[in-house]
Point group: C3
Chain length 471, copies 3
Amino acid sequence: MSNAQLLIAANTIWVVVAAVLVMFMQAGFAFLEAGLTRMKNAGHIAGKNVLIFAVCSLVYWAVGFGIAFGDGNRFVGTSGFAPSVDSLLAIGKAPYSFFTTVPAAAGYLFEVVFAGVSLAIVWGAMAERAKLWVYFVFGAAFTLIYSVTSHWVWGGGWLFGLGMQDFAGSTVVHYQGALAALAGALLLGPRIGKFEGGRGNAIPGHNIPYAVLGTIILWFGWFGFNPGSTLGVVTGDHVGFFAYVALTTNLAAAAGAVSGALTAWLVLRKPDISMMLNGVLAALVAVTAASGFVAPWAAVVIGLVSGVIAVVGVLWVERIGIDDPIGAVAVHGISGVWGTIATGLFAVPALAATLKTGQGGFVYTGSLHQVWVQLLGLAAVGTFTFSASFGCLWTMKRLWGIRVEEKTETAGLDVSEHGMWGYPEFYIPVPGGYGTGAHGHLLSRAHRHPVLVEEAEPDSREAARAEATAA
Amino acid sequence: MSNAQLLIAANTIWVVVAAVLVMFMQAGFAFLEAGLTRMKNAGHIAGKNVLIFAVCSLVYWAVGFGIAFGDGNRFVGTSGFAPSVDSLLAIGKAPYSFFTTVPAAAGYLFEVVFAGVSLAIVWGAMAERAKLWVYFVFGAAFTLIYSVTSHWVWGGGWLFGLGMQDFAGSTVVHYQGALAALAGALLLGPRIGKFEGGRGNAIPGHNIPYAVLGTIILWFGWFGFNPGSTLGVVTGDHVGFFAYVALTTNLAAAAGAVSGALTAWLVLRKPDISMMLNGVLAALVAVTAASGFVAPWAAVVIGLVSGVIAVVGVLWVERIGIDDPIGAVAVHGISGVWGTIATGLFAVPALAATLKTGQGGFVYTGSLHQVWVQLLGLAAVGTFTFSASFGCLWTMKRLWGIRVEEKTETAGLDVSEHGMWGYPEFYIPVPGGYGTGAHGHLLSRAHRHPVLVEEAEPDSREAARAEATAA
Amino acid sequence: MSNAQLLIAANTIWVVVAAVLVMFMQAGFAFLEAGLTRMKNAGHIAGKNVLIFAVCSLVYWAVGFGIAFGDGNRFVGTSGFAPSVDSLLAIGKAPYSFFTTVPAAAGYLFEVVFAGVSLAIVWGAMAERAKLWVYFVFGAAFTLIYSVTSHWVWGGGWLFGLGMQDFAGSTVVHYQGALAALAGALLLGPRIGKFEGGRGNAIPGHNIPYAVLGTIILWFGWFGFNPGSTLGVVTGDHVGFFAYVALTTNLAAAAGAVSGALTAWLVLRKPDISMMLNGVLAALVAVTAASGFVAPWAAVVIGLVSGVIAVVGVLWVERIGIDDPIGAVAVHGISGVWGTIATGLFAVPALAATLKTGQGGFVYTGSLHQVWVQLLGLAAVGTFTFSASFGCLWTMKRLWGIRVEEKTETAGLDVSEHGMWGYPEFYIPVPGGYGTGAHGHLLSRAHRHPVLVEEAEPDSREAARAEATAA
């Protein structure tokens, strides 16, 4: 074993471990989103995260990875589609010359889980009312949209050439996901009852411990997201630089939690827990671009501002009449913009040199050059992604409709879209279950949802349940 | 530090990290199983995963590891029982000559978590009706059965000598666990009410978000399971080959999710979420044997077929009168068989050469040789494991009985086997709890389970509760 | 790349991965604690883990890390506060000469998550009745207390100089957290109803599956906690020694589970699941000091004894009139003492030499020297931490009060401290939620908590809810 091989081995361990941590963020989104929505949709919302990650994994393997990181031009990769065994085992060779530190297979793994995170963000604002087929079709479409812009910023494209600093994707992953989420929320319209009476009615999530678990899983996964973006264990002259990236990530998240809690205390008169969780996530989103570029104090500042954005932003999005059940537009969109700009403000010149990307930020150099580059990137990605997403969803809406019927939205997506219940023992009699059989019906017939009983399509499982009830 | 030592250090990091990911699969099984069963058994079902992993860890340390990977003959390891400090710190030395890439301690860690997964599968089909002592005794017995066959296939035994390809254990871990599960389900008989009226009544799981979390945790853990089975960071000439294994694993799982959802949509008229989750798991089971041997396209094919197996297989097992609450027989058994055979069909000759195990599959070589080896392995392991498990459980049934009484099954295993409730505030008044005290009884006495109130053995905690109620 | 650089790269991978696993233990504590307490406090209890880890991260960065591991004297570190980029990227240099195997940033990451675990333990005994501001203030104070004693034992301080053996912190992390927990429990007094009628009334936790998930996450995270404490991949002459530490950790936990379950079976007449979980945790706590020093058989013995301690200790703490909802005093305190002493009994002389800390234990050397050192460490840390914690909390109690009012404790901390509900659909009507709107009110007005309805401060969210109800 040569030292060069040992280095590749070490790089691959780190990148694969980081990828696996990021993959686990799907559990974080599943529980964050299920926790912040209603019981009647809980199975659907948790389950669709599995489905869309699956769609994304297949599409990214077939096409997306080639578009994003295959050899090509400044706007799009033009090779490396549905790659072979040999090209995946190679290191730094065509069609994936980009990956010089790890085998291309590790590159695929690390990048596909990023695409999966961006896609997960999309559905937050579309929760509780989209038709199931939309997840399949727009999931595939967004994976391709994402692949194009990630080529621009990371895969050797034109924004990379201009020196845009987006270490792990405040723009590429989060802002972009939030733009598609916004397009979806606008085209779907608000949930039934959300703006009844002319103002935003709170529709509280059904399980705050789920949301907490989701947030901690996301924080945990972010230690793969940001530090893994070094794509190896040596960065410039620094061995183990990824540990530094983990440190700035952790400081920002911590500052976001404290700031979110205190801002909620001031604004809402109580330190609402879901607002504190939003503060954590908004800070993680913002420090994503900055984590390799900034000093610890700047990470704290980025987090503190993000905590304010999380609370005020979520309330503002509701105020302007957009129904975003999870707060994706504020937490991933507004805070993604903040993080991208903040990097241009706070980037340490020596770290920009280490990472060979752009230059030092305004507070060190007095120059706004880097800020302008960041703003250009935001404008370009924003225009492309919002247009493409809106166009795609608008076409789908015109052709077949993207929103479920009122009746099924009222009954809940679990039963209407999947023919099952997330928590059946709270809705229907289950043989030998809670409140049935010899033990009396805790949930009497009168208490059950009439829509469920009358409207749900009878299928084999329904029939079985009906029988069980009769027994 | 020599390069050889650095390589061992890197290997050990990877193998330990992979082992830890696999260990976490116990949380996945706990939540998958608890989610797919009823509220009244939820504490028991989640908790017994901790208990059986504990039993397995101790038995595997004392005996199993020596049987499986201790130096010995072609049928069984005959050394390395209850190992000493020195033998665990050694690398590639007796009694664990097998482990040449990592210290034997890392070998123990990686292998014991595999035994734990196989054992976790066993209980899926036996859920909601087995006596608690069975977990202790059959847990220990199955750990030994598993150790014998893992010696055959992996520990230098006779099936290894014949070139059987089972990269991470479709046969050794999953099919084998499912065979014991089948033996248990046959000897226990169906749950009360399952086949009342002559057909399979659905007994829906109480918490689909739990099942989703369990599935994502399992998918996450599988990135240790399959890629970790390289036992190091260099495989043949390929540095970082484990990243490739992770890629095929992910593609198969994704294909299984999509295929499972679509098959359920066709067969059940609705894309049932638990069926989609079964599709993911069946695909992961099938690609377990294949993950190091096959091309990406083959991983997708394996996953697509597994998604169909998951849905059709689960329905078929129910049709023939077997009550398998979690679907272990179909998902781990039938899909384990499929994955083992598929490896014989699709193994890339160059990868078989890299892994020094067997030869290329039918689609490349036109020869069915490898398929026959795979079938021989399935037959041998199947005969041994099913006979031994059935014999063991049959004896236990005759001597003391393995199934709880009807009364306790009806009341639920939480209260009958553990003297507590999984969700007490839905069953009993808790001091200061939901629906008690000054705030009125949401759950009035009439709503509570009479069996629980009348029959549960009074113990110190019961008395305390009774007092609290009276207060 | 030189071999020395490759070694640092490998060390950093391992230490960062271990740190990330330990960070995830916050999810374990959140779910263990939420599961073992009541529904009305579930959001608060899960959420405050995020908050206190955030407070700890910031305080530890600003001050704590310098106190604990900055260069200084035998009692306290006096440098390295709010560190700069350069000092965090350096290896083995002032102000962090202590970290010679990894960059100081990795050191911060690994040590801050330990401080976070110790702090998480504190709140277990204070659950369900402390005011929210206490988490901010005492969270910061305890982080500093912890930093001082960790300097004594690990950061080159006087107990380190005496050869105290506390591999990963049975004393520093667990016993110390339990002492502050005890101070808090004493100053807060028991929860309403706990000792009504003159004896300990059981207040069962609301969700045992949560507690199981929490325990498995903790077990999983402990594979970072103990093995990561090698701070690198080579220990003395042993490459991959951390795998051995993982092995002893796993064996002890397994023995604790079995012992806890059997002890509960004997003492309580039923194998209570939460007692089995306590057995796992008590064993992990005890083996924390011992994991690098003892043989596998000793790890099993340590775990078996801990399982007994968990059950008997929890009952004893209740018997003497202390209300410790999670069992922190017994599980982390008594078992932490046991583990620290057990290390002095069972340390293998060769391993003590490998780790260059203290000497062999009593069973090998016949000398009680090491036991006396361990006891001295316990006495010193115990005196300092209990005094400082009690003094701090006592002052806070006198100045502003640390316990919520009776009315708010009865209503639950979710609504009283955060203005929201952990599980709103079980408490209030949610627009379109479970049991509302056209589908009838499952939870009729009469069933809702009058305190909640009458007393909760009206804010914008409240008003929205009221409106939704009226609609």
